[in-house]
Symmetry: C3
Subunit: 350 residues, 3 copies
């Protein structure tokens, strides 16, 4: 699996890990046991007992420690075995990997790379379920497809005109005109004005408005999108640059989405969406989540079908189009970051 | 997969491909999108967009063209891309394979080999659902088994005495005596007289008759069988050669069957069966289809079990018997046709 | 698959093979057809017809013979083909393997190794469903796990304190103190006294008793366990050696269990359990079977999860603990027996 390791992957919604009950997740093919101990502390351990490889996620929380429930070995949060029933001596190498873990924006994030390099400042600034300014709803989908294919999908919104013609009623503009794409240190920024329009199904207004939507898409696969409607003429006044969202009228929404590679050809897709509290209410949130449920099923159907075709193609080759600029920039960035990690690992090994 | 390519494979019943709705089929492991355009024209395209390998069978018919509904590339019936949304230039290599396709005898046939060699005259003379002289019913079964094993089954009717002892009540004759087998340019002919008999369940008569059944089995795996009953003594009068079917009394039926290799260890088995309009009616057709449903399930159960045993056998070897003569002739023919195709491909490559 | 071949594997409960109806079983990856002929004789044949590899277990019993129901070849109990319909000559090599088979203690046992070495005296002395002294109930579980992992589980009862904390309410003693382990020629013996106790859920008594439990675990994976309760002080009187079970008071039970490797990562687990007729009744048997159903599901959940972790671990390594002494002795014995078999096979080949 070819993904950046020195970054934060979304593992769970916060509410999925309840105190005292271990949970299991697989990221980049690595099984991980996650638990919230008695003190509230979150721990992420390699999900594989050193004794006979039973999963620790079937274990029992004892304080901030985790006991394997096959033959009783007890693990401290740093992964060290601290008790072996029936045996006095504990070998120092009786230790599993402990992953840096953080809870932020309503998600639980795990750092899959070098623990020394884990930097909480690199957690993308998602607007989460717990954000006081937005009224958010959420969902998740399990994909039988490589995470990279979902990333590609989210990087090229020209698919809205086709895949989501029914759900989002996106119209032909998304395919006919290319958006403004700007490289970022860890991803790309997408910006698009739609002028003098009644909007698609997610931004319908009773009178024509100028619509602006922008998202950052950053490693490993986090999409952070803000959309809003503005009086007609705003796009021109801004010279088609990004507007000041405090001047939005009628509609202002945010969606945070995360693609996590579970294992080869398996991925989990997390999303939340909702209006700014000043602009919308629970009914608008429910409308957005209803459309998202429909639209994200359309994506899943297409992408899993694409994966099945790729799987039976001896030497799969793609033919990029004009709309692939963002995909190309992002995948080139990912490739260079992976190269960089490889160099660092080799350098440290010397 | 070791099958002849320069021949016509049954892909669908005619009624399965409705105007304006693309269908998908896999033959010899190759995914194919089939659609009936606005003019009624049938097209079969490689089911794999040149852009990102999404299946065109999830696409939208536009006139006689097909638009990929992932990012909107439009394909002409010859496989050439003729529109890329958001992009002016279309590379000439933006093209997928287009397969020769024909509709005949109630089936849609696809030519899997060299398009230059596609010859509609090579479509076997099936009696189909649309035949005015016969009252036909139909069915299909999906097999978790290699198509070759189904062909072997259909080439050796000695299995009737065992596999179909209950359904067809075939009696021991099919195993005890070998039929007349005659090689054909693209298969074999099977002929058998059963004299002075009340017949098996598909040919039951109130008084003893002479029964004659004959089928051609031709590449890639098409069985065309005619059966009838004749006054006692007819077999002897004919010197046990084929009778004139216009002299049949009481019973005259036809069944067309097609075995299509989907992919490794996957096959689809199509069949229709019914009486000649002069000899039978809808009730007789329904009786035949009822027996066929029972009997073809018996075959499927046996052949899929055989496949599972083959799969766990390190070096599977068979031991042919006297009844395997037709199997041996046919498989030798297939082998020589495949050799021939390989030679031609090599010659053309030089 | 790395298992001893010169030993008896449990293939069926006796009642699973009814006269005249062939049954199928896979052991060590080898498909086997088992039938009880007209004379009552049991036969185990390689489940693979020499003709086209159809399974003989779909065949028809004729006397003590078995006819393949694909094209009618007839097999004698020694595996020799004795009839080929439509053909006069039977090649002498038309023969499948015939396995030594025995019925004893309510189970049908198959010898997977050299038939010359098959010795019914090596069948472990199980107390079976048909034992007149015990009131037995039975069950079976299919595992998606290597049989070896189930054997490991049964060899180390320290897991009772964790896996079966709820069902058997085993308490911490099983993990805190190691039992007496004695090597046997074909396995190990486990013995444990629990003194002055009201017992776990399977041996609950109204007054404190001394509990004794002992089992032999022998190749290929047969567990034979006797448990009983004795007046307090008996353990000390016996100097903590095995007691005379005729002096048991209140409780005396036996359980026979068998682990059969079906194929890679597939196993079947057979078990029966019940009280000695003098000590218990049908109600006690049903209580034991109820607890076993709960407990053996706990094992299965843990072991299948362990297998899944092993499967995704590039180089799985275990770290034995003090409780692994029995596991280590047994697996070393198995390894030496396999080595021995290999040497004998090589010697015979010279």
């Amino acid at each position: 699996m070819n993904y950046v390791r020195n970054c934060w992957y979304v593992a769970f919604w916060s509410h999925e890990v309840v105190q005292g009950t271990p949970a299991s997740v697989t990221i980049l093919g690595e099984p991980i046991a996650v638990y919230r101990g008695e003190s509230g502390r979150l721990t992420a351990l390699e999900d594989r007992c050193v004794h006979r490889l039973a999963p620790l996620s079937l274990g029992r929380c004892e304080g901030d420690r985790l006991r394997c429930m096959y033959h009783g070995l007890l693990y401290a949060p740093d992964g060290q075995v601290v008790d072996i029933p029936g045996q006095d001596i504990i070998p120092p190498h009786a230790k599993v990997r402990s992953y840096p873990i953080e809870e932020r924006h309503g998600w639980i994030w795990i750092w899959m790379g070098d623990p020394q390099k884990a930097d909480a400042e690199l957690i993308p600034a998602a607007v989460g379920l717990d954000d006081p300014d937005f009224i958010m709803g959420s969902g998740a989908l399990d994909y039988d497809a490589e995470a990279e294919l979902i990333n590609d999908n989210l990087l090229d919104f020209s698919h809205l005109s086709y895949v989501h013609a029914d759900s989002f009623q996106s119209g032909p503009e998304f395919a006919e005109r290319t958006p403004r794409i700007t490289p970022l240190p860890r991803g790309i920024r997408y910006e698009r004005w739609l002028e003098n329009t009644l909007g698609s199904s997610t931004r319908r207004t009773p009178v024509p408005m100028d619509n602006f939507m922008t998202y950052d898409f950053v490693v490993p696969g986090i999409l952070l999108m803000r959309s809003g409607t503005f009086p007609v003429g705003t796009a021109a006044q801004c010279e088609h640059q990004a507007p000041d969202f405090s001047r939005a009228e009628r509609i202002h929404t945010f969606t945070s989405q995360a693609v996590t590679p579970i294992s080869e050809r398996k991925a989990r897709y997390f999303f939340c969406w909702g209006p700014h509290r000043v602009y919308g209410d629970e009914a608008q949130r429910d409308m957005l989540l209803g459309l998202a449920a429909m639209a994200f099923d359309e994506d899943k159907r297409m992408i899993e079908a694409q994966q099945r075709i790729i799987d039976i193609t001896p030497t799969p080759r793609i033919m990029p189009t004009a709309h692939d600029r963002s995909v190309t920039i992002f995948n080139r960035l990912v490739k260079s970051m992976i190269e960089q990690e490889r160099h660092e690992t080799l350098a440290e090994a010397r």
